[in-house]
Symmetry: C2
Subunit: 111 residues, 2 copies
Amino acid sequence: MLDHQAGLDRLFQALADGTRRDMVERLVRGPASVSELAASRSMSLQAVMQHLRVLEACGLVRTEKVGRVRTCALQPQGLRLVEEWTTRQRTAWEGHLDRLGELLAEQPSED
Amino acid sequence: MLDHQAGLDRLFQALADGTRRDMVERLVRGPASVSELAASRSMSLQAVMQHLRVLEACGLVRTEKVGRVRTCALQPQGLRLVEEWTTRQRTAWEGHLDRLGELLAEQPSED
């Protein structure tokens, strides 16, 4: 449970940065090399690598070096955990609104 | 667009903390006073107020003081933005998998 909480901490933290979200938005469309990620965002390789380390540490991305090219691929499980947590909150909120509606409907009318 | 990005930064940052997620999990079931939030989590009022400030700053929670009681209520729009972003990434990822499947199906069989 603590592990799960710490995992969510790291996932939300990693996504609290526009550049990293932008990299995820690119990688959901398929793998990319580090140089491709850098070129399309006018970023230095070093800056991309720094963000990739954060994305790898929380499990959102896996990178693999074949020859001289490091390829980055999305790991969908991390996104799934974030979506599950968020959807659970929305569902609970809708349940609260439903109960509120029922309570209001039960109020005796003042006619 | 930049405002939207900065808003998402703050939302993900606010949710990158187990105590704050826990407070959101409580508030999706209905409003609570600061003392209720503190008591059920064995936290000091000061610690709760500190987390509430972060949740208020990103628009996830609104607090209102009536008499001596400060009541906290969830603002669902923030959760919605996080869910929308995450669901959009999952959908794009599924689209990528579909295209990959089609490409594989188009490969000439080696029989």
